[in-house]
Symmetry: C2
Subunit: 276 residues, 2 copies
């Protein structure tokens, strides 16, 4: 998917919502276990069908699938195939935070972009250029590089200021990585819990899309994110996982997820008008 | 496995070799495809049987297995189970370089330490404390944290000097992470291509084991690593992957791997005597 296509989808749907499929076998509604021998896929399918007109992206979190072994991997592949077949306008992000030397990164690229139908993969920057560029070799695919994360541990290293430039590490990641890719094949993770910093980040990466986790369960404000982070092509994908997918554990969980997603979409629609 | 047990194994086998199981479906000997419908496992089993008395650890690289989908995951699980059942004195490292927020890290910990029989997991430090500590909650299991990697991209961020202390990022990782774990549940990745820096690193982490990739195919020198990095309990696991496992693609590949592993083991035996 191109940046222009993603922006078109955002305009048409009046939403920049990404629904995080952190689908946990211990949290999904119990009745799904009676309905299917692949309850995780059944859960995802119901969530997807209930929210696809309200969001522009889905983000399965690989840890939740890997923890179930081959059954989890099957559920993941079925989910990605289901989205790609039924909702081809959705941008599908593998939240896997990979990062390894070149020949290993090439293997991961083959997994996510060759074997599976993902549009994008989250990547950790610690190992530098040759851990990122193999993913950029895939036409139409995206790297979503970690810059400033939403968790408490973000303060351990990401704010380390460079002796020679005074810039914190996350800014160095933003600046340096622009030599590897561009706004048409690279996005950045910037946590909503640091929304006040989005204006500074926009000065470094004015054109790039930012994937923003941490709205909702982690406490970030959507208004702040939009005010400080939106650019002329929206430039934001805001992720919400738990608040939407676990809105209810009753048999009407998908409807409850839709209600939550609609609340977010309506707020986003207003923000697109105000800031657009 | 405890640190003392690992050191005992090193002394008994006169080796601190870790064999990296970067088992690539495109590189393993062709005849294995006729022998078995799980040629990756057959390859690994032959390599393991031929080298287990010469090494103290095995390190499957997750990317190579994930790239084969569920079949790869099956081969990985069979490999780990095979090592654990037949060579219980081997330390088994999942080279997966995970790193994510706390609830996701807990899921990964369940995968590698709960569901699978790994002793250790490589972890990326970028996201800080809460991305690491969930793995340390497993008694007898280890985090192998990336500090200074062996690839060219290591120079992009790992040497960034902290404005307030002057220390490069990889040293900050070494120092800060000692508040999270200790020498009995944490090791560090330090590339052999930076062997001259091992003496400085030893001053920061005198007791910890270091996992050293990059000897052999990537060009690092084992003598330099031992001279600068060895401590009173050896404190080193030196990994070799391609040089050993792809020593030959003929039907005698396992014997060829043994010959290469034996060369390394004999060199290690001398180094243990000289530096021990």
């Amino acid at each position: 998917m191109t940046r222009q296509e993603l922006f078109s989808n955002i305009c048409r749907k009046r939403s920049f919502l990404c629904v995080g499929l952190d689908s946990d076998i211990n949290k999904i509604p119990e009745h799904l276990f009676d309905l299917s021998d692949d309850p995780i896929f059944e859960f995802n399918r119901a969530i997807i069908d209930a929210t696809a007109d309200l969001c522009v992206a889905y983000k399965p979190n690989l840890a939740f699938y890997e923890s179930l072994g081959t059954a989890g991997l099957d559920a993941l592949e079925r989910t990605v195939d289901y989205i790609a077949a039924n909702y081809p306008d959705q941008f599908i992000i593998a939240d896997a935070k990979r990062g390894d030397i070149g020949n290993t990164a090439s293997m991961y690229a083959r997994s996510f972009f060759g074997n599976m139908n993902f549009d994008a993969l989250t990547v950790a920057p610690y190992m530098g250029e040759d851990s990122v560029t193999p993913f950029l070799a895939y036409e139409g695919k995206w790297v979503v590089l970690l810059a400033l994360t939403s968790n408490s541990g973000a303060f351990d290293f990401q704010f380390t200021k460079d002796e020679s430039t005074g810039e914190p590490l996350f800014e160095k990641v933003l600046r340096t990585s622009q030599q590897w890719g561009n706004a048409d094949n690279m996005m950045y993770v910037v946590g909503a819990t640091k929304a006040e910093m989005l204006a500074d980040i926009r000065r470094i990466v004015p054109e790039h899309f930012l994937l923003v986790p941490g709205v909702g369960a982690q406490g970030g404000s959507l208004q702040q994110v939009a005010k400080n982070g939106m650019n002329a092509q929206c430039g934001l994908l805001v992720n919400s996982s738990r608040q939407i997918i676990y809105a209810s554990s009753a048999p009407d969980f998908a409807q409850a997820a839709r209600t939550e997603a609609m609340k977010v979409q309506r707020e986003m629609e207003e923000l697109l008008i105000i800031n657009g």
